[in-house]
Amino acid sequence: MTELLLLALGASLVNNFVLSNFLGLCPFIGVSRRFEAAAGMALATLFVLTIASGLSFSLWQWVLVPLGLEYLRTLVFILLIAGIVQFTEIMVRATSPLLHQLLGIFLPLITTNCAVLGVALLNVDRQHGLLESLVFGAGAGAGFGLALLLFTTLRERLDTADVPQAFRGVPVALVTAGLMALAFMGFAGLGAR
């Protein structure tokens, strides 16, 4: 139990996928202008990450390994993730057309969010079991969501700040993301002792 908790905390805070590993920066910059959109993105990514972790592990463990097809894993995982993302998109469009509009291209682009594939591959590399894979995926998703929501509220505040012309918009967002990463370095080495 403690192991699982540490795994989740590690994936969400210490080795935060965005701020420590710099994975998934595309939606991090792209969908952080408005809180509603960011919340939707955080939930969608959490959903995709968790499901993809579980399914990719199952496929790996019970299909690819028994059949000796380990070399197909990247292809199979991407296919799987694309399918889950498509399903998510159908769901979002049905439940909230506004959110669908807000997320726009970034919703199908969860497929290419390297954090998702990264988690699937890391699960295999670190020889996680099914439960561990799910927890790791959910922890990574929660960490992504947390970073995204914090970043979005920061950016909303910066919207009304008197930022120099040269830094308006994405530049100041990137500086902010950099300083967030600097702050997250405080978690470096946590639990190493």
Binding site: L154, E156, P164
Partner: protein
């Protein structure tokens, strides 16, 4: 007769930003005296470099934006940043690192976001964290404080500070005069499987009520902080919450395992605890803005500092704790809007 028709109110209390800032500088004086007495005059050297750099950086940033620099230089906010950074860095730091840290603090921590009132992060802590990450060796080398070994004189400390300030190789001539801070020594000792009572018994780490050297600085900072609270320049919420967030878990942990966990007194009077609680975390620009939000914000800082001190990779987590809670401030503000008169909760 004709009169001017400016809008109401027609009077103001006249308690202005520059006066607030200079009160803060004044309240830092006791901690500064303790610092100089225990660690030599390095602080004064760092202060002078930091202040000059900060004023120059502020003026340059405003000139670049085509704004009038004079009011901003007079408002004293940039001097507060310089002071806080100078108090945080080791007094032996080569001057160019102090200058670099200050310039980064003012330019990257403050003016990229638009200057006074706009910066989401505490500028001094931005500068400090960058220095700490980039120059870990220089940033953790402190003079051995005066109250550890009576055989060293203050004038030797002064000469060493000057040498360090100029960038001389301290290891060659002053080995034994420099060392890790108390929190760092404890952390290393625990890493080597010593127990806390064993480490404290050595005598060079902790004195009667706190870390050697730092205990007095913390006490002086506490006095200055209480002055600010009594003048209502700083409201009590953040300091109380920071100390609560740090001391409550350390009290519990110390009770559970006194062999490893630092007790609340040692936590309170070591590292940058009091400086953080009363001067750094209370920077209003980068803090949460409602009373309830400030309690959450302060408690978060205390708790994260405790977590980093206990399990983290850095001996004193105060700077990172402040930065981490800074980035949560807009989120906290979003959910801690107080109830408006006449509205349902």
């Amino acid at each position: 007769m004709r009169f001017d028709t400016s809008p109401a109110p027609h009077v103001i209390a006249g308690y202005t930003v520059p006066r607030v800032m200079f009160q803060v500088l004044l309240a830092l004086a006791p901690a500064g005296i303790a610092h100089v007495a225990l660690f030599g005059p390095g602080l004064l050297l760092q202060l002078s470099v930091a202040c000059v750099t900060a004023l120059l950086a502020e003026a340059a940033a405003l000139r670049w934006r085509g704004r009038d620099a004079a009011p901003a230089l007079r408002d004293g906010s940039v001097l507060v940043t310089a002071f806080l950074l100078a108090f945080s860095i080791p007094p032996l730091l080569p001057w160019w690192l102090g200058a670099l840290g200050t310039a980064l603090a003012v330019l990257l921590g403050k003016h990229v976001f638009g200057g006074l009132g706009q910066n989401p992060f505490n500028p001094a802590m931005v500068g400090y964290a960058i220095l700490l990450v980039a120059f870990p060796a220089e940033m953790t080398r402190w003079p051995v404080p005066m109250d550890v070994d009576g055989t060293r004189t203050w004038s030797e400390l002064a000469r060493m500070s000057f040498a360090g300030f100029c960038g001389a190789d301290l290891a060659a001539r002053w080995d034994g005069y420099t060392g890790a801070t108390a929190l760092d020594s404890i952390r290393n000792g625990l890493g080597l499987r010593y127990t806390l009572p064993e480490l404290l018994a050595r005598g060079d780490i902790a004195g009667t009520f706190g870390a050697r050297g730092f205990a007095w600085i913390n006490l002086a900072a506490l006095a200055g902080g209480l002055y600010l609270v009594s003048r209502r320049i700083v409201r009590w919420h953040i300091p109380v919450a920071v100390l609560g967030g740090l001391l409550v878990p350390s009290f519990i942990a110390h009770g559970l395992d006194p062999g490893i966990a630092l007790g609340p007194t040692l936590q309170a009077f070591s590292g940058a605890t009091m400086l953080t609680a009363f001067f750094i975390a209370t920077d209003p620009v980068s803090a949460a803005t409602s009373d309830r939000g400030r309690l959450w914000y302060g408690a978060g800082i205390g708790l994260i500092a405790w977590i980093i001190r206990t399990w983290g990779g850095y001996p004193d987590g105060c700077a990172f704790a402040v930065l981490l809670m800074n980035l949560a401030v807009p989120f906290i503000d979003r959910y801690t809007v107080p109830r408006i008169y006449g509205r349902q909760p």
